[in-house]
């Protein structure tokens, strides 16, 4: 078996004290793994342990050496005034502007502060999925999305399987994860 992009082994993580775990899973190239669980179950804490913002109490987080990671946070940074167009935004992560999903194409010339919450969220997700990262971490990507935007997100995620990168998706929406993920990991506090 080729080395995983990310391997989490019996991880117990938290902040001042343990919040979640033990939990184990791996993410390989070309697959989408979902972390499912209710709000407050500790899913984002696992993500924090992976990127180093939460404390690892026991267990192990192993990343392939030199792994390039893109991360979309649960609450994207949204300034009151953002004189940055969609195209500018994609340039920030180096996301492919030619393969932009159809719902985002008319938004490329618009300022980000003129986008709806769902449009901005989808732009954030594409900025991560469309860049050169080998592992993409998405934390609650369906936040602020209406059914149409969620449908676009599903298309984008399905298409991302083909380029060989690994995706770890965190969501409290079980049906969404079941529809797009190769494997699901249930997280309980």
């Amino acid at each position: 078996m080729s080395p995983a992009l990310l391997e989490v082994d019996a991880l117990v993580a938290g902040y001042t004290g343990p919040v979640v775990g033990p939990v184990s899973f791996r993410v390989d190239g070309g697959e989408i793994v979902g972390l499912a669980g209710s709000n407050g179950s500790g899913k984002s804490t696992i993500l924090g342990a992976i990127i180093g913002t939460a404390r690892v109490f026991s267990g192990d987080v192993r990343r392939r050496e030199g792994l390039r990671v893109a991360i979309q946070s649960q609450s994207p940074v949204r300034l009151a005034e953002m004189p940055i167009t969609g195209l500018d935004f994609l340039r920030i992560t180096g996301a492919d502007r030619h393969a932009v999903p159809p719902p985002l194409q008319p938004l490329l010339g618009k300022r980000l502060d003129l986008l709806s919450g769902g449009q901005y969220q989808l732009m954030n997700v594409w900025a991560c999925l469309g860049c050169a990262a080998e592992l993409v971490l998405l934390d609650e990507p369906t936040n602020n999305m209406d059914p149409r935007a969620t449908s676009s997100l599903l298309d984008v995620l399905r298409a991302s399987r083909e380029n060989g990168r690994g995706v770890l998706v965190i969501s409290h929406e079980h049906d969404f994860l079941a529809e797009v993920c190769n494997r699901l990991v249930e997280v309980r506090p």
Binding site: I51, A70, E81, P83, T85, D88, I92
Partner: protein
């Protein structure tokens, strides 16, 4: 006084000094505004002013002490992390208090203190211009490298940590660049005028501009236009440069009100 006299040799060096700063400060201000740290600019300018006064007291070149004080302030800001407006407010109060107490100690310090309030652009010379031009060259070389990193760090705050770089150097590099520029600017145009150049043009540009590069162009253009008007107006009206520049920039700020987005 005629316009010919204004652009006479006597005023050429001060004019060029201010010209570079009038473009550089608003451009840096765009990133400072993006980082929501515009209050830090006033803190750094105020600490630099205290450094100038301190330099006068210890008989060292004021500008060098101001640069040192600004660099220390930038390092302190980096050490505190993104502590936000509370720590910047402390910097402002500390700089203001130190500058005025220092100014009261010596007659020369008092004179410098007044100059930092009013701006002494017309008395800057070749030494100051060398510093400003060097800063312009460094900024032109550094900003293309800094810009994508600052944008990435702003919109994807966990990106660098997730990629194994918990304390990226670009934040400190930008802070030091901004601090040194503000220190030089405070000694040329005064504390409040330096702050106004960092604050107002980006504030207006953020409302108008349709794109990041246009934001930079708008900010630089507004800063430059305000500077040219203020330079001529201050001489012709025989008024101190700093307050005149701030007044012109406040008129520029009205564009925000007039613009319907």
């Amino acid at each position: 006084m005629s316009l010919d006299q204004i652009f006479d040799r006597i005023f050429l060096l001060p004019f060029l000094n201010g010209l570079v700063l009038a473009v550089l400060l608003p451009v840096l201000g765009v990133w400072i505004r993006l980082r929501d740290e515009w209050l830090a600019a006033l803190g750094l300018a105020q600490v630099s002013a205290a450094g100038v006064v301190l330099g006068a007291i210890v008989a060292e070149p004021g500008m060098l002490v101001a640069l040192g004080a600004a660099a220390v302030a930038a390092a302190a800001k980096a050490f505190l992390g993104r502590a936000g407006n509370d720590s910047y407010a402390v910097m402002i109060l500390l700089g203001w208090s130190a500058a005025l107490i220092g100014a009261s100690v010596t007659a020369h310090g008092d004179e410098l203190g007044r100059a930092l309030v009013q701006g002494q652009l017309y008395f800057t010379g070749a030494g100051h211009l060398e510093g400003v031009l060097a800063l312009g060259v460094v900024s032109a070389a550094l900003l293309p490298w800094l810009s994508p990193r600052l944008l990435l760090g702003r919109f994807f705050p966990d990106h660098f940590r997730a990629n194994g770089v918990p304390n990226p150097h670009h934040d400190l590099a930008f802070d030091v660049l901004a601090a040194v520029t503000l220190a030089l600017a405070a000694t040329a145009v005064g504390v409040m005028a330096a702050f106004a150049l960092v604050f107002v043009p980006p504030w207006v540009a953020f409302r108008f501009a349709r794109g990041w590069r246009l934001t930079l162009v708008w900010a630089a253009g507004l800063g430059l236009a305000a500077y040219l008007v203020a330079f001529v107006a201050a001489i012709r009206l025989d008024q101190p440069f700093g307050p005149v520049l701030v007044a012109v920039l406040l008129l520029v700020a009205l564009l925000r009100v007039l613009h319907r987005g």
